[in-house]
């Protein structure tokens, strides 16, 4: 496995999961827009933020399990196969 820069496995899975969580991402972005002009400092988008990251996390753990079942071993197959979580 002669790889120059091993890719972080978790980041890779999170990138792959972004399309699955577009709804939560849009909701978060809508919230950001809503509170844009807020001066009071009390408004925040933690709820939507948590919804988004909960979706990403769930998708990642599902992906890990899928990868294990399909591959029969713990290997995330990038084109360069540099991301093996030993």
């Amino acid at each position: 496995m002669a790889d120059e820069e091993p890719v972080d496995q978790k980041k890779y899975l999170e990138e792959g999961c972004k399309p699955k969580c577009v709804k939560q991402l849009r909701a978060y972005e809508a919230c950001v827009k809503r509170i844009e002009g807020d001066e009071s400092g009390h408004k925040h988008c933690t709820g939507q933020y948590f919804d988004y990251w909960a979706c990403i996390d769930k998708c990642c753990t599902d992906s890990i399990l899928e990868i294990e079942i399909i591959e029969g071993q713990c290997c995330v197959t990038l084109a360069s196969c540099g991301a093996v979580l030993s």
């Binding site: 790889d3 091993p6 890719v7 972080d8 496995q9 978790k10 980041k11 978060y28 919230c31 950001v32 509170i35 807020d38 400092g41 408004k43 925040h44 988008c45 933690t46 709820g47 939507q48 933020y49 948590f50 990251w53 909960a54 996390d57 769930k58 990642c60 753990t61 890990i64 399990l65 294990e68 540099g82 991301a83 093996v84 979580l85 030993s86």
Partner: protein
């Protein structure tokens, strides 16, 4: 008149709480997902190569702030290192011992029987060096936190930018998994931060997985023996249950198959 006064007192008491800060989702932190740990199964053992790497991560990244005062060097023998390796590792640290025959304390190189070295002399020193926050002892951390293994992994690898509207003061960092969201520890696991002895690429996720496996072992070193014992005894006791059930029914069959006749006295 009195009821009105009581009602008024009640309402003003209740309104007194109106200005207290309200809680939100960040109060309990984002829930950690359930990762498929290789040692999760009913008969699954620890990945000992992972424990060895995890100890390396702890030593190089975490030990400068976090103590593990319940673990001794000898605990590592046969689990992650050989006896010679552990002795060499222990001898690298200086331990205060004594008193000697002259009544003085002296320092000597570490032995297998010594506990892991403490980064700070006491909690006050630890707080002083870390802006008032105490880096907790990690000996039992995966048992001391709800959903410990998943929580620690999510925490270590989950440093993200804060959501819009949330500001974290200077000296703290945002972590969605930490209750309240503002944690004193900065992100410590960076890709390539250390070079593993066995050549495994040291990505953030890899180091997180290894260190959590190490911490799980540290908190529950008896896990493998417990699972073996549990499997054996649950099997044997199930057989014993079947035998006991049969024997009870055998002995009771006499009573359960008797006939009682009620006759009328004429």
């Amino acid at each position: 008149m009195r009821t009105v006064a009581l009602l008024g007192a009640g309402i003003s008491g209740f309104l007194g709480f109106a200005t207290i800060a309200s809680a939100d989702e960040s109060e309990h932190g984002l829930e950690a997902p359930n990762y498929p740990w290789p040692h999760s199964g009913i008969l699954s053992s620890y990945d000992h190569a992972s424990i060895r790497r995890g100890h390396q991560v702890y030593q190089q990244v975490c030990a400068s702030c976090h103590s593990m005062s319940l673990i001794s060097f000898r605990d590592l023998v046969g689990v992650a290192y050989t006896e010679e390796e552990t002795k060499t590792m222990a001898a690298e640290i200086e331990v205060v011992d004594g008193p000697n025959d002259e009544g003085e304390m002296f320092t000597r190189p570490g032995k297998l029987s010594d506990r892991f070295p403490q980064p700070y002399a006491n909690e006050a020193a630890a707080r002083f060096a870390n802006g008032g926050a105490y880096p907790p002892d990690l000996s039992l951390i995966t048992k001391a936190r709800h959903n410990g293994q998943n929580y620690v992994f999510a925490l270590l690898t989950g440093y993200h930018d804060p959501p819009a509207g949330v500001t974290i003061r200077e000296g703290l960092h945002y972590n969605p998994y930490f209750p309240g969201g503002a944690i004193a520890m900065p992100k410590m696991l960076i890709d390539g931060a250390l070079e593993y002895e066995d050549g495994t690429p040291a990505t953030e996720a890899q180091m997180g997985k290894d260190v959590v496996t190490f911490l799980s072992w540290a908190a529950e070193p008896e896990m493998e023996e417990r699972k073996l014992m549990g499997f054996k005894w649950i099997f044997l006791l199930s057989l014993a249950l079947l035998q006991a059930a049969y024997y009870r029914r055998l002995r009771w069959s006499v009573l359960k198959s008797r006939r009682l006749v009620l006759d009328v006295v004429n």
